[in-house]
Symmetry: C2
Subunit: 220 residues, 2 copies
C-alpha cells in the first residue's frame, strides 16, 4: 500500500475513533476519504495485514499500537507545519489546512524535529490542538465547552471544535483568537445564545457558535 494512501486511512481512522469509542465504520471512512465503501473494505484488509489496524469483518476498526504511532507522527507533522505557516509565513488560521494536508506526508524525522526546534517546540497548533511530541505523547489541554460555562465567568479561549474556514473567519471578525479572554455577561435561555464581552466590545454568540468554542481558566 502506498505510504500516502496508508497515511490518509490511518489518519481518518484515528479521527473517527476519537468520536466513536467503538471504532471507525467503513462508511464513515469512505465518507472521510471520498471513496466508495467497497474500496475501504479492500484497504482495511491490507492495513490489517500490514499491522496498522485491528480488524474483524463487519466490525468497526481500531488502530493497533503501530497504527496509533503512525497517526500521531502524521498529526505531529501536520500541526507543526500549521504553526510554521501561521507564525513564520503569516497565513491566517483559516488558510493553512490544505497546505498542511500535503506537508504532513513528508516523512523525514530530522526535518520534523528540526522544524519543531525552529518553532520553539510549540505545544499547540494555531487552532489550539495539541502537538504530539517526538515520542507521540500528546499533552492534555485543560478545556471546557463555552456552553458549559456559567454566567459572569471570565475565561480564555484555548481551542475550537470546528475547523471550517467560515467559522474561523467569523471568530476573526469577533476578535476571538487563541488566548482571547471573554466574560459571559448574559445567557439567553430561549435559544441558548450568550452575550459575551470580548476586549471592549460585546457580542451575542449563537449556541451553534459557542458550542464550537473551547475555553480554559485564563492565567494572568
Amino acid at each position: 500500500m502506498q505510504p500516502r494512501i496508508r497515511e490518509n486511512y490511518v489518519k481518518a481512522i484515528y479521527k473517527l475513533c476519537q468520536k466513536n469509542k467503538e471504532g471507525a465504520y467503513t462508511n464513515d471512512i469512505a465518507l472521510a476519504l471520498q471513496v466508495k465503501a467497497g474500496t475501504v473494505s479492500e484497504s482495511l484488509k491490507k492495513l490489517s495485514e500490514e499491522g496498522f489496524i485491528v480488524y474483524y469483518k463487519h466490525r468497526a476498526v481500531k488502530l493497533s499500537a503501530k497504527g496509533q504511532q503512525l497517526a500521531l507522527r502524521i498529526i505531529r507533522r501536520h500541526r507543526l507545519w500549521e504553526v510554521f505557516l501561521v507564525e513564520k509565513l503569516g497565513f491566517g488560521w483559516d488558510e493553512i489546512h490544505p497546505m498542511a494536508e500535503e506537508l504532513e506526508h513528508i516523512d523525514f524525522d530530522q526535518l520534523t524535529d528540526r522544524l519543531d526546534v525552529f518553532l520553539d517546540k510549540p505545544s499547540v497548533d494555531p487552532h489550539g490542538d495539541p502537538i504530539p511530541d517526538k515520542n507521540g505523547k500528546l499533552s492534555k489541554v485543560n478545556y471546557r465547552n463555552l456552553t458549559a460555562c456559567s454566567l459572569h465567568e471570565y475565561v480564555s479561549m484555548v481551542g475550537i471544535e470546528n475547523h471550517q474556514p467560515s467559522f474561523l473567519q467569523l471568530l476573526d471578525q469577533l476578535g476571538l483568537r487563541l488566548g482571547t479572554k471573554l466574560l459571559i455577561k448574559e445567557i439567553i435561555p430561549f435559544d441558548g445564545s450568550m452575550l459575551v464581552k470580548i476586549g471592549k466590545k460585546e457580542f451575542y454568540l449563537s449556541k451553534t457558535v459557542s458550542e464550537n468554542i473551547l475555553v480554559g481558566p485564563h492565567k494572568e
Copy 2:
C-alpha cells in the same frame, strides 16, 4: 497523468536538455527516473498530448513553453526549500536534496511566494544555483570553471557542478563554501591539479575536484 509523475518527467527532461542541446533522449530519461525505456515512451506520448513537450517519434524531446514554465516552477520550489532547510533549519548542503525533492511537489503559489519573502527573496540556493523568480525568470550567475582560471588569480566560489553528498562533504573539509575566496598558487601540468590557498591553508585540488568548482570575480 498524475501531477507528481508529470513533474518528475518534466524536471528530468529540463535537466537533460541543459546538457544536450538536441533534447532529452528516452534512455536518459529512463535512467534519470529509474524506470524502463518502454515506460518512458508511453509517458512521452501522454506528456505530448497534454502539451508539456514537443515530441516526434524516435527524436529527442524538448519542453514546450508550457513545459518550461512548469519545470521552472518546480525548480523554484526546490531551491527555495533548500534555502529554508539550510538557513532556517541548519541542515548541511549535503543533506537537503532528498527533502527538497519531496517539498518541491507541494503546489500552492501563495506558499511558494510567502516562503520566498520569508527567506528574503534569495537569488541562489545553497549550492549557488539560481532560483527562478515568480515569473520563471532565471538570473544569470557570472561564473567560470576553476580549471579555466590562471595562475595567481584570486577568485570566489559561486557554484558547483556536482551535487553528490561526498563531493559537498569534501568541500566542507577544505573550508570551501559559497563565497569562499581562493588564490591559485600553482598549477601542476602533469595531472592538471592545482595548489590553492583557502583562508590560511593551502591544498592541492585534483583536476576532478576543480572541474566541479565554479568561481567568479570576488567582490569586496
